[in-house]
């Protein structure tokens, strides 16, 4: 049985991180979300995958290739225009019989995937606290009656988790599906048509994590790190302190005076220290440099980025190929200790977090002693000059001097 993973979306609410990568390639604990799903699906017994790609598809292809590295087979289908979930799923008709579909940007657990695999014509369901932003599912004794669009007053807390087990007949309904109000072909509309003739069952999942805004990556990262095991490869100098669950990758050199409090994950080929302080729930990618007198806390630093000299980075997400100049610091707490709001895609959003540093895209350069206010968003290729202060939302390719 093949597993179709929808991986075509841009993930606009993840800007600026998704200006330069598709949403499914965002890293959690140093692995793209799509890879987490791939591994869990493999453990659930699935070996043959079809990725429906679109936005920046080459990044997905370059990373996963034919799947040999994971012992699975991966094929690709290019969705082209983003016309909705039904359109995406419809593209694989010629290539599947009974099949599983899951949304590549939501994290599913291996046991849940197995449950869906074992039940024909099923949909994954999950109970959540704030169902308003999702599709609520009306069920009667396991049978799906209707899937609703986002409701102002949700009728229950049961939502569509975004994982399905379909038989070939779904394609007949996909062909009949009309464009929804927002101009897309939605698989939920196809399902609503199908349930009139076919019994479609809801299966409750135990694990489920959705990431919508950049700071959600910090939450997902935290959860992932709590589950991970300690594995130290690299070279660790003496006079370093490593406490708790800390993983350190191959060829990474941890120099004297480094104080690492787990759970922390550090990738391969990194230079850590001397005399740096890495605090819990921090993930450092590959080929990074966390240097002397730097403190990094509860943050994600992606591949090839440097926090090299006298920096403080807290509750932040740093993209790839970034370089912080000496003395660059990030503010992550308001003086009045209120929730931090930030601006994504021109809309002011309350992050509901008391602590949030900076979210920066790729290729950022900052000058010496530059500073970033709480909740600052930096688009890719931004340059912050020496001594400059960055705040608010800064568009890609801009300069703050």
């Amino acid at each position: 049985m093949k597993c179709v993973i929808l991986a075509a979306g841009e993930g606009k609410r993840m800007h600026p991180l998704t200006y330069t990568r598709p949403k499914v390639m965002l890293p959690i604990a140093n692995r793209p979300i799509l890879e987490l799903n791939l591994l869990n699906a493999k453990k659930a017994g699935l070996k043959h995958f079809i990725f429906v790609v679109g936005y920046k598809s080459e990044m997905v292809r370059n990373y996963f290739q034919d799947g040999k590295k994971w012992g699975v087979k991966i094929e690709y289908v290019n969705q082209g225009n983003a016309l909705g979930t039904a359109h995406a799923i419809g593209m694989v008709e010629k290539f599947v019989d009974n099949f599983i579909v899951l949304c590549g940007d939501t994290i599913f657990g291996k046991q849940d995937i197995k449950k869906i695999v074992d039940k024909k014509n099923s949909i994954g369901l999950i109970n959540i606290d704030n169902p308003r932003e999702y599709g609520v599912v009306e069920i009667k004794k396991e049978k799906v009656i209707k899937i609703y669009e986002k409701m102002e007053k949700p009728i229950s807390n049961v939502i569509n988790a975004g994982i399905y087990h379909f038989e070939k007949q779904i394609f007949d309904f996909i062909k009949k599906t009309k464009k929804s109000l927002r101009g897309e072909y939605e698989i939920t509309d196809s399902i609503n048509m199908m349930v009139k003739n076919v019994v479609f069952k809801g299966v409750f999942l135990k694990e489920w994590r959705d990431v919508v805004y950049p700071w959600h990556l910090l939450d997902a990262n935290e959860e992932m790190l709590k589950k991970s095991e300690k594995k130290i490869e690299g070279n660790i100098d003496i006079n370093t302190m490593i406490k708790g669950d800390v993983s350190i990758g191959r060829n990474t050199h941890v120099m004297s005076g480094a104080y690492i409090e787990g759970p922390v994950l550090i990738g391969n080929n990194c230079k850590i220290g001397p005399n740096c302080y890495i605090r819990p729930f921090t993930t450092i990618g590959n080929n990074c440099h966390i240097g002397n007198a730097c403190e990094v806390k509860n943050s994600i630093v992606m591949n090839n980025s440097n926090v090299p000299h006298q920096n403080y980075v807290g509750d932040s997400v740093i993209g790839e190929n970034c370089n912080l100049g000496s003395g660059t610091k990030v503010a992550n707490l308001r003086f009045d200790k209120k929730n931090i709001s930030t601006i994504i895609n021109g809309k002011k959003i309350d992050t509901k977090r008391r602590k949030l540093g900076v979210v920066m895209g790729d290729n950022i350069q900052t000058g010496i002693n530059s500073t970033m206010d709480v909740g600052t968003i930096l688009g890719h290729n931004v340059f912050i000059g020496p001594g400059a202060n960055a705040k608010g939302n800064i568009e890609p390719n801009s300069r703050i001097l």
């Binding site: 790609v53 598809s57 080459e58 094929e75 690709y76 289908v77 290019n78 082209g80 225009n81 010629k94 290539f95």
Partner: protein, 604 residues
């Protein structure tokens, strides 16, 4: 030149092919055709535009096929001459872009062997040859066939007996392969494929490719397989629409206040009093340039001529403007010359060839183009985009003015680097530059006045355009625009040259359009007008708004706003564009798609 496309995958071939062909229509539109292999090989062709084909084509089943849109080079426009061309036994179908120079001899040889030809095209010769060479392997048949061909071609062949593959080959005409998932594409240019895939592989001359559903194999002429890099195309295609204007050309003329701003955006600072070009370009310009050669064709050649006046006036560097088709064979390629290629599409065959020659000789090359990712941007050391958006009207309008502006920016930059232009002077020029959109809007507001003058030209057989200095190339462009879209014979002359021959052509019924700017050429131009009027014809003068003298000499006056200065060339050009447009419209000519012309000439 024509547009070709091939598809091999899982979607319905005829839908994909028609979709791609629509994007290639700008290349040629006198006839179109599609061939699809499903249970059998079916071909459908129709004279006229692709929309006609779309209406009439029956539904073909099949997921592999080839498609073609034709701009006739050999043979009249008929269904028989349209592509795909079939071999006599209807086994092999072929589409072709290019010109086979020795097709006549090959045709005779085949006829002697008993082959019956259904069309007058050189393309049919290719498919018949492939058929003759076919012994069960399409790829080998194609390889053996191209050995016999002399000339340019981009071909894609399909064979009934090998319904899983398409074979393509290229020599001098462009051919690009689009890499998909479980499907592959091949086409004349990237714009045809972008909707379906952004991964492309470029074929080089002499190469052959075999497209199956899951992979692409590329071979050189020795049948050795070559590996090609996959390129990701990052630019997007934006659809252009007429937006309420009766013609794309009129819309594009009216877009110029906007496109002028776009050409200058981020490159001109009033406060800093400086011109900012990309680092790569500033490096390229910052050396001891002994001379500059501008290589171009058609309207771009004229923008080069305007550029020559501007650059020489500001920098004292000698500028030679060369027709690309001549330069590639006969031009002097010296290392210390800076080569500037000007090509709207970035794909003009002659200009590309000329640039390659120059590069091989060790020259520094800079290209001015409107299309990101075009071949020109890839083969030159640096490029500057005009950023005008797609130009659909075949006659160039907004891209012409933008090209001149970029040449002007280069002139300013060079002058500053050589300390020939101080910050104060540059500041004045920058203010004039920023006022250009306003001046153009003023001209556009007076479109009706120009329409009245156009009435005078509606029924004439021949028109002259004259000017001196920078106005001479403007005369050439004015004449070209009028010719292109109204089909009236028009010629531009340097005013001083009239008396050395062309005067003989003047009659009472050849109106003369004179560009008269109040500078050191003014008195001589007035004298020229006198000479012309003495022979009878009507004189229409394009003069500045403060020129009160001109009415005494010319029969009609069209005013351009502001005082005469080198940048007046821009509003003057807009006047000439509108004049040509109105005349063509009065004569009910097909303005966006003039007869016999196609945008972006990729045949030589």
């Amino acid at each position: 030149m024509c547009g070709i496309v091939g598809y091999n995958g899982f979607r319905e071939a005829n839908k994909v092919l028609i979709d791609c062909l629509k994007r290639l229509e700008y290349r040629g539109y006198d006839s179109a055709g599609i061939g699809v292999i499903g249970k059998k090989l079916q071909v459908f062709k129709e004279v006229g535009e692709i929309s006609k084909l779309e209406e009439k084509i029956p539904s073909f089943e099949g997921d592999i096929g080839i498609g073609h849109t034709r701009w006739a080079t050999h043979g009249a426009v008929t269904k028989e001459n349209a592509h795909p061309q079939l071999s006599s036994n209807k086994k092999i179908a072929l589409i072709h872009n290019g010109i086979i120079e020795n097709f006549q001899k090959l045709k005779e040889d085949l006829e002697k062997k008993g082959v019956k030809f259904a069309s007058q095209t050189d393309s049919e010769v290719i498919v018949q040859l492939i058929n003759q060479n076919y012994t069960g392997n399409l790829r080998d048949a194609v390889i053996n066939t191209i050995k016999q061909l002399k000339g340019s071609y981009a071909i894609v062949a399909a064979c009934k007996e090998e319904p899983d593959i398409l074979v393509g080959a290229r020599n001098e005409s462009p051919l690009v392969v689009g890499v998909g998932d479980n499907e592959n594409f091949i086409a004349s240019d990237i714009s045809a494929l972008l909707k379906y895939t952004n991964r492309v592989k470029y074929l080089d001359d002499g190469e052959i490719c075999v497209l199956s559903k899951k992979d692409i194999k590329i071979f050189n002429k020795n049948t050795k397989e070559v590996t090609k890099e996959e390129n990701i195309i990052t630019w997007e295609l934006k659809d252009a629409e007429k937006s309420g204007f009766p013609h794309f050309m009129l819309k594009e003329i009216f877009e110029q206040p906007d496109t002028i701003n776009k050409a200058l955006l981020g490159r001109v600072s009033e406060i800093d009093r400086s011109i900012r070009l990309h680092e790569k370009i500033e490096d390229l310009l910052n050396y001891d340039i002994k001379s500059i050669r501008i290589l171009a064709c058609g309207t771009s050649y004229y923008s080069g001529l305007v550029g020559k006046y501007l650059i020489e006036q500001l920098t004292d560097i000698p500028v030679i403007v060369e027709l690309a088709s001549e330069y590639r064979y006969f031009g002097t390629k010296s290392e210390d010359s800076l080569i500037i290629g000007v090509t709207q599409s970035g794909e003009t065959a002659d200009t590309l060839a000329a640039l390659r020659e120059a590069k091989n000789a060790g020259c520094r090359t800079l290209v001015i183009t409107n299309v990101m990712g075009s071949t020109a941007t890839r083969i030159s050391d640096a490029y500057i985009l005009t950023q005008s958006g797609p130009e659909i009207g075949v006659a160039a309008t907004k891209t012409f003015t933008s090209q001149i502006l970029i040449l002007l920016l280069i002139a300013f930059k060079l002058a500053s680097l050589k300390n020939k232009l101080g910050a104060d002077e540059l500041s004045k020029y920058i203010i004039h530059l920023k006022e250009l959109p306003r001046k153009v809007r003023e001209v556009l507001d007076n479109s009706d006045k120009i329409l009245n003058i156009a009435l005078e030209l509606k029924n004439v057989d021949s028109v002259f355009f004259i000017g001196r200095g920078i106005n001479y190339p403007l005369s050439l462009e004015g004449a070209l625009k009028l010719k292109e879209i109204s089909y009236i014979h028009a010629e531009g002359f340097a005013a001083g040259e009239l008396k050395h021959g062309p005067f003989a052509l003047l009659t009472q019924v050849t109106p003369v359009i004179t560009i008269v700017t109040k500078d050191n050429t003014y008195d001589k131009m007035i004298a020229n007008i006198g000479e012309v009027k003495a022979r009878g014809p009507e004189v229409i003068a394009i003069a500045e708004e403060n020129d009160s003298e001109i009415e005494k000499h010319a029969d009609f006056v069209i005013r351009f706003p502001g005082q005469s200065n080198p940048l007046s060339c821009i509003p003057i050009i807009v006047i000439l564009q509108l004049l040509a447009y109105h005349v063509a419209n009065l004569r009910e000519c097909s303005i966006d798609k003039p007869r016999n012309l196609a945008k972006s000439v990729t045949v030589e």
